[in-house]
């Protein structure tokens, strides 16, 4: 039975104008209503930063003792607490892991915004004492289902593999599947990897992978925080069906010049940061220098990969120029090359470039707004040489302008909105075996706007309702406009437990040319959805519970059901040049995710389990895609010995991935020349495959161990790490070569070390 066809709300799509108007009117009605009954209230607003570097501290805890109210800073280090009783002495406590907590006595004036700038002092890294947080109070009614907020320092204590990699760290989250040890590419809740949006600050990065996709091209040293939506993401995010990974970069040290150098078995890295007049800069670069480690990922086969990435950012904030404003210019570049030096083999090269100008403004009222002008481009090329493969050349260029605002009402409710104009050009040059090439790319403009209202005035209820209307689409068939309604709810029925749910419709106009059965994808060329297909769309239904039985223990349980329609599938039955390259397919994914965290110094334990069912329907055939791993368990254990010593262990288990088995051979008639007498002499063995992905590889499991030592001598900090990857040398099967039956395993037991020096 094709569930997707049965359940997908065509009527909703068809009545998009009505729905959008309804949502907008509802938001306007609610927002005007909430302004009617107002007692004199004030607003407490603040910015929390590191006292040494001035770097914003994301997700720090802010707690008003007398009101028993808490908040978290956002990814820029800002927080707003509306509806604060005026003319009262209030004790505001600010805390953040690894920093000394501070308390302030503040008095808020009625109808005024009280600004608080907080600088927390980092605790010497060798000291054991770590402040406890007030996180539980802060999350009372946050509509954050399926959202994982990750401060980069939280990842540093886990086994880092060869080196810390954000994408690989995501793979420890429930609901996130990996393509194996050999790939940092990730699959979220039964969707393909091209349905994941990767934003570096506000800029889309199209192929953020190095070296056959083994590592991500975003150097964690330039990252301040990460927000990761596994689904149900709110209206400010668009253009993808499955997930959003928003990487927020660091601003650089505002107070002092500093330098970091680090060396792993794979790369050498350098980072410089420091103050400039009224601002700061940061400059980081990373380059690989050896393929020793890469060989381990490839069954000891050489991988002549050469890559680097560069990041630069300038911040400027001068009240004499523009009060309470911040200007940021950032640039990112990554380049990869696989040069085999053998004409019988293909060569590859690809690069990402991104540039962003951001203007962020805090107004006198509790209003934030920002304007972004950005560009992002990707170039990828497969150079066939004399290998017999076909050449491919892909270019994507994306120019985006966006404006977002966020207003906090006295009632604590929030109104957000914004618009975005994106122009995308894609070129995909395909070569035939004659060496001729043709471009199947196109270009288009997407103009969209979003509006959402967050109902937060009751401490035990949070509702986020909104939508995005795409006035024009990049291309493709179907309706010219597309409406994406979104809604999310949190209801805390007892202080220790909350029910959460979210729902939304999502649209994607860009597709990648990818064969999901390929075990290694070097890069996936992007094109705008061809005009003969409707845009891909999805609907998410998510619900779950969050429980905090004690200050140190948290549990979450989430279930989801996701329907995908009009997925662009490479046409395996393209017999003639005039046949379409893509055909529409549909998909369904559903599952359960459980996660529990226990934190009691010096121990941190994290256990998660996910159950996933994922199906695709193409040409009337239903099958499980390669990333449909039924059961996944992740267990991590961290122990802080004090004096800068810490150790951790991570164990991953997942059901084996589906694969298509060999079901025999037959002698197939080969017609080289239509006029010859081929029927009586021209046959070759042809592989018979079982039903697609009906087989399962053996289960995957792996234990990684890590020992870290942090040394601080004055301003000099040294971070040394020793990791044992696949500690018990589990032979996890990656794939079989169908022509030889050769078994290709994933990463073997591998010790790895890295050292980072910071001055």
């Amino acid at each position: 039975m094709d569930h997707s066809k049965r359940n997908f709300p065509d009527k909703i799509r068809g009545n998009k104008t009505f729905l959008f108007l309804f949502t907008a009117l509802l938001i306007i009605f609610i927002s005007s209503f909430t302004n009617l009954y107002g007692q004199p209230k004030g607003v407490l607003r603040g910015f929390v930063a590191d006292s040494l570097s001035g770097e914003a501290l994301p997700y720090a805890n802010v707690y008003i003792k007398e009101l028993e109210r808490g908040a978290n800073t956002d990814n820029r280090g800002f927080f707003v607490m509306a509806s604060v009783p005026p003319e009262k002495k209030l004790t505001v406590s600010i805390s953040y892991v690894g920093y000394k907590s501070k308390q302030y006595i503040v008095r808020v004036d009625p109808y005024r915004v009280k600004d608080l700038r907080v600088e927390l002092i980092p605790i010497n890294i060798q000291l054991q004492t770590i402040e406890k947080t007030s996180q539980r109070v802060a999350k009372e009614n946050a509509t954050d289902l399926s959202l994982q907020r990750i401060a980069i320092r939280d990842l540093e204590t886990l086994p880092r593999g060869v080196e810390l990699d954000i994408f690989r760290s995501l793979q420890n989250l429930p609901g996130v599947q990996s393509g194996g040890d050999v790939s940092a590419r990730y699959y979220v809740r039964g969707s393909t990897s091209n349905q994941n949006l990767v934003l570096l600050d506000n800029v889309t990065i199209y192929n953020p992978f190095h070296a056959l996709g083994i590592f991500s091209s975003i150097d964690p040293d330039m990252v301040n925080s990460v927000e990761f939506y596994k689904g149900g993401f709110p209206a400010e995010y668009s253009t993808r069906l499955s997930s959003v990974l928003k990487v927020v970069t660091r601003d650089g040290n505002k107070n002092d010049f500093s330098a970091k150098a680090s060396l792993s078995l794979l790369t050498a890295k350098m980072m410089l940061e420091g103050p400039i007049p009224h601002g700061s800069f940061i400059l980081s670069g990373r380059k690989n220098y050896s393929d020793f480690i890469l060989k381990k990922f490839r069954n000891s086969n050489s991988l002549p990969a050469d890559f680097y990435d560069l990041f630069a950012k300038l911040n400027y904030s001068n009240d004499e120029f523009v009060k309470d404003a911040k200007f940021t210019i950032s640039a990112f570049s990554s380049q990869d090359q696989i040069q085999n030096n053998n004409l019988q083999l293909e060569d590859f090269k690809w690069s990402n470039q991104a540039f962003d100008i951001n203007y962020f403004q805090i107004s006198d009222s509790p209003l934030f707004y920002q304007v972004d002008v950005s560009s992002s481009s990707f170039n990828g090329e497969r150079i066939p040489n004399l290998s017999g493969a076909k050449g491919v050349n892909n270019e994507v260029s994306d120019v985006t302008m966006r404006m977002d605002f966020n207003y906090v009402y006295d009632s604590k409710n929030e109104l957000s909105g914004g618009f975005k104009i994106t122009e995308i050009h894609t070129k995909l040059f395909l070569e035939n075996f004659r060496g001729q090439s043709t471009d199947i790319g196109s270009h288009g403009v997407n103009i969209s706007a979003f509006l959402k209202y967050k109902l937060l005035q009751w401490s035990n209820l949070g509702v986020d309702i909104g939508g995005r209307v795409n006035a024009t689409r990049l291309a493709g068939g179907g309706p010219a406009a597309f409406y994406e309604p979104r809604a999310s709810l949190t209801y805390r029925f007892i202080p220790q437990m909350a029910f959460k749910a979210s729902w939304g419709i999502y649209m994607q106009d860009l597709v990648t040319v990818s064969d999901e059965n390929e075990v290694v994808t070097i890069f996936e060329p992007w094109i705008i959805t061809p005009s003969y297909l409707n845009p891909s769309s999805a609907i998410h239904y998510i619900a779950g519970f969050e429980a905090n039985p004690s200050q140190n223990l948290s549990l979450t349980l989430e279930g989801y059901y996701k329907i995908m329609k009009d997925l662009a599938i490479v046409n395996d039955q393209k017999y003639f040049p005039t046949d379409n390259d893509f055909i529409p397919g549909s998909g369904t994914a559903y599952g359960l995710e459980f996660q529990t965290k226990f934190h009691e110094l010096p121990v941190d334990i994290n256990l998660s389990y996910s159950l996933l069912y994922s199906f695709k329907d193409v040409n009337g055939v239903r099958y499980s895609p390669r990333y449909d791993s039924r059961h996944n368990v992740n267990l991590s254990f961290e122990y802080d010995f004090g004096s800068g010593w810490s150790a951790s262990a991570v164990w991953n288990y997942s059901t084996g991935m589906p694969f298509t088995q060999i079901a025999g051979y037959y002698d197939k008639l080969q017609i080289d020349d239509l006029t010859s007498n081929y029927l009586l002499n021209s046959y070759y063995p042809f592989l018979i495959l079982s039903d697609q992905n009906i087989g399962r590889l053996p289960d995957y499991h792996r234990l990684d161990l890590n020992l870290s030592k942090k040394i601080q001598m004055g301003n000099l900090k040294i971070y040394a790490d020793l990791s044992l990857l696949n500690a018990y040398n589990r032979k996890n099967l990656f794939y079989f070569r169908r022509d030889t039956g050769e078994r290709v395993d994933m990463l073997p037991f591998l010790p790895s070390a890295s050292i980072k020096v910071e001055l």
Binding site: L430, N432, Y666, T675, L679
Partner: protein
């Protein structure tokens, strides 16, 4: 305690670190393969029938047992008649893999009279039935026209002494409405037939002429493709001239070469054969994002192909003086 825990720990690590045995192969999928390409230019029609097989390893060439199926009842149905195909064998040309005779089925009395539906049914010894159908197009229903674009042309004679970028355009069409004609795929080939004198003996050869030589691709010869909804083909004069020159390349004794004629052949393929052929050839030749070679079959109850292929030919003669100007002889 240590005496228990440590061996237990070691043995458990050894146990879980062992690789799981998994077989990339599953049970043999029992598939029957029927191939039959109807040729409109002959009354002898052949078909082959075989079954799938498995090997112990991963090299299918390990299989040395001919998987042909004998004793089946195969009939072709055309023009309200049934033509039974007889079970026979011939000496195998290539015995590198199978050293038994090559088994096939044939009929030598299938005369095509006119355009019409055609089908095949194979009843296997185990009573399984394979079936496929198509449509035969009588080449007599097709006409060919010829046009020489520049300078003025001469009907049905190739004026090879012309200069410049002249092209030869051949147009074809159906003389009357023919059912199924919209599902026909066309390709063309131009072949030069010639003799070479060798010790007084004339040996016949042929040379295939490309549409043109692509100068941007290192003078790569470009040959016609299979296409639907086309009714013409254009040959470059220079390509014909170069093909003539290449006949005697590096041989100073040009007069030993006797040019007989050229033949233009319009190949008509039903959509089944076109798809089967294209799945093998177009995958390599054309612009496609597809990575894997597709597989086509139109056999109900099995795999393989039942296709129809007919040819409409047009002889093209060269001017004698032109052939002689190249140093060649004429008949």
């Amino acid at each position: 305690m240590k005496k228990i825990v440590i061996p237990l720990l070691i043995s458990s690590i050894v146990l879980i670190s062992c690789e799981d045995q998994v077989n990339p192969k599953t049970d043999l999928k029992d598939i029957t393969v029927l191939n039959c390409i109807i040729r409109g230019d002959t009354s002898v029609q052949t078909a082959t029938l075989s079954h799938s097989y498995s090997v112990s390893g991963f090299d299918p060439y390990e299989n040395k047992t001919d998987p042909c199926i004998k004793g089946a009842d195969i009939k072709i149905y055309y023009n309200n008649s049934a033509y039974a195909l007889k079970d026979t064998s011939i000496t195998r040309v290539d015995t590198g893999r199978y050293n038994t005779p090559f088994n096939f089925y044939y009929s030598n009395n299938l005369a095509f009279i006119n355009s019409g539906p055609i089908s095949i049914t194979a009843i296997l010894p185990n009573r399984d039935i394979l079936h496929a159908s198509s449509f035969f197009i009588d080449p007599g229903d097709l006409y060919i026209e010829y046009k020489y674009t520049s300078p003025s042309g001469v009907q049905f004679y190739l004026p090879m002494n012309s200069q410049g970028d002249a092209t030869y355009k051949f147009t074809w069409g159906f003389l009357h409405n023919v059912e199924y004609s919209e599902n026909i795929y066309f390709s063309t080939e131009m072949i030069i037939y010639y003799y070479v004198l060798n010790n007084g003996q004339k040996v016949k050869y042929s040379k295939r002429v490309p549409l043109y030589y692509a100068s941007t691709l290192g003078n790569k010869p470009i040959f016609p493709e299979i296409q639907k909804d086309i009714n013409y083909v254009v040959y470059d004069t220079a390509a014909i001239r170069k093909s003539l020159d290449d006949i005697s390349l590096n041989d100073p004794q040009k007069s030993n070469y006797i040019i007989e004629k050229a033949v233009l052949r319009i190949l008509l393929l039903d959509e089944n054969l076109a798809a089967y052929y294209s799945a093998q050839k177009t995958f390599l030749d054309e612009f496609s994002i597809r990575i894997n070679q597709p597989d086509f079959t139109n056999i109900t109850g099995g795999v393989g192909v039942f296709g129809v292929y007919t040819v409409k030919s047009q002889d093209l003669y060269f001017y004698d003086n032109y052939i002689q100007s190249l140093g060649y002889s004429t008949l």
